[in-house]
Point group: C2
Chain length 355, copies 2
């Protein structure tokens, strides 16, 4: 019957993956990715392509919303750059710049592989197993990474990153794999309700898999996104984890998928709550100073940025898309005690429990 | 006679060093500094205090000049912060911010000493002698360091730094000392005449001491101020040297003094030549993008900044005064071939001989 036919077509439309499903052609040819449903490398490449598309799509919707209210502002669009790497693999960078809602938003995926020295392999992990010094190592790394800097100081900056690594010791044919990732937020003006919503959404994603995860990865996040020389956190935290290779590959991947599914619900409501709030010149100046701190963290401490910039054949424009469009540094700036800027600083100096 | 008396008073006025000679009280009590004319530590502390005063005084003159032409702009003044360090020593930071001519100008001196591990001692030198791994080391470091970011994109940024180090191996009582330093310039719009004047002035200072110095230290400067991930130099270079302990302490110090004497004549004429030139919105945007590169170099590569930020008790506000008031990052920005921005990039990609 035609009803059955319609249902079949609808079903096939919803599940069929084709070039149109993503922001660009995949790095590995799509038919190879779809040919082996057992390979985690292939499953993860399809996963990061999907996360990229979903997030870009959602951000574009916010950027375009009510665009015709004010004729002076035109919404910006994502620029899509697909690049390949001589040493193996490549990536897709999607960057929206100087928009109506988003001053700079980047969502990048990359799939890279090749051989690497043991010190570089060591650096890929924040802790855990050690590789032998003279090992002959092959690696595979696939991830999605994003930083979203809205224009309005009432809207926090978001960062997330989810990645899958494989390292193979060719000498003894041992193979290691692990997942890493996290989502964290950096407000300029503190709204406690928003921060609680953000953390609660991430906690729910964790709780579906392991009741100890949220506490552990929340703490790890506060420790990782820490600007040591200033003795303050970059933002109000979220989740950060690395070296996840338990209880098994399927369940570890399911956990990562739950985290990724939480990106839009933890952040987009916060954007919508604040995007139409007014702000003053001094709010904007404060935001730019805090963006200076963001630059300090990313260029001095962030392992991903440092690893990226020293990796041969890496694309520095994709790595540095995390930097804000504008940042300021004022000598000895210190917010007035009791001001809203000071209230934010109290939380950055001493991370709080939010749920 | 009264003539003789006047001459005597004039002579004494010119040579007498007192608290008024400097931007602030010295770190080591002035009477101690003046009590031992043989100690290089004391001579160098007096030297950096004098350089700081001379440069601040000269910059303030430029900042204040013609101040009354335009009622909208008020010139800014240097803020002076004297700080001490629990572990030994301290410093004086002079920073002028958001001025008429200078958007941010910092001239800092510091005198620090204490004990340090061999790895940190190693890091103080860019090459040369190695300290034993288990050595018990005492160090003394004294220097003057400055970054001057003018507001007008036609006026280049200047950086200079002159320093004296002592390391003493307590185990065997061996003592090492050396000087380091340099002056380099970062233009946003290239004026070849200005760059030639800048290099010629530095070459003259070198030539008075050793005919091989200019070539050697000019090359070292191009290599040091290099943004590796972008494959470009930070600016048009100048001088950079380290580990200078020859031919003897007196002559090495005399060379450093000649370099310091060249700071004002190599730079201030360049400021005066360009400070009243007009500039466009796009000139300013280009300057801000190049200031982003300045931040990248300082936070990712500069040994002084990195060493400073990991040294216990260091004053991060003084270290980070080198960062511009405002910086920008635009994804994949690339100047149009043949434009003036592109002409600058050609020189940054391939350092030229200027004299």
């Amino acid at each position: 019957s035609s009803l059955l036919l319609s249902l079949m077509l609808w079903k096939s439309k919803e599940t069929e993956i084709n070039e149109k499903s993503f922001m660009s052609e995949t790095i590995t040819p799509l038919k190879d990715l779809l040919s082996d449903s057992e390979s985690m490398r292939k499953k993860f490449e399809l996963f990061v392509m999907k996360v990229q598309k979903d997030v870009c799509h959602e951000l574009q919707k916010v950027e375009d919303k009510d665009n015709d209210i004010d004729g002076n502002h035109e919404s910006a669009n994502f620029r899509v750059d697909r690049w390949t790497r001589e040493e193996g693999g490549g990536g897709v960078s999607c960057v929206l710049e100087d928009g109506r809602v988003f001053e700079k938003a980047g969502v990048n995926i990359s799939v890279v592989y090749g051989t690497l020295g043991a010190p570089a392999a060591q650096q890929m992990k924040s802790r855990g197993k050690a590789f032998k010094d003279n090992a002959d190592l092959k690696f595979f790394a696939c991830g999605v990474s994003s930083v979203i800097h809205p224009r309005n100081p009432n809207v926090p900056t978001l960062h997330f990153n989810y990645r899958y690594f494989e390292v193979q010791d060719v000498t003894n044919d041992e193979k290691y794999w692990w997942f890493g990732g996290g989502t964290d937020m950096t407000p300029y003006i503190l709204d406690e309700k928003d921060v609680t919503h953000f953390h609660q959404t991430l906690k729910n994603a964790c709780d579906r898999h392991n009741k100890t995860y949220y506490q552990k990865f929340k703490k790890w996040c506060d420790q990782y996104f820490f600007i040591n020389h200033r003795n303050e956190c970059r933002g109000i935290g979220g989740l950060f984890f690395d070296d996840i290779d338990h209880p098994n590959q399927k369940e570890a991947f399911d956990f990562v998928k739950s985290c990724a599914d939480a990106i839009i619900p933890c952040y987009i409501p916060v954007v919508n709550n604040n995007v139409n709030k007014g702000y003053s010149y001094s709010d904007r100046q404060w935001q730019l100073l805090r963006r200076g701190r963001y630059v300090e963290f990313n260029l001095i401490y962030d392992r991903g940025t440092k690893f990226g910039l020293v990796t041969p054949g890496s694309r520095y424009e994709s790595i540095l898309m995390s930097l804000p469009l504008v940042a300021k540094w004022q000598y000895c700036h210190s917010p007035e005690p009791g001001s809203k800027e000071d209230r934010l600083m109290q939380v950055l100096k001493k991370p709080r429990e939010w749920v």
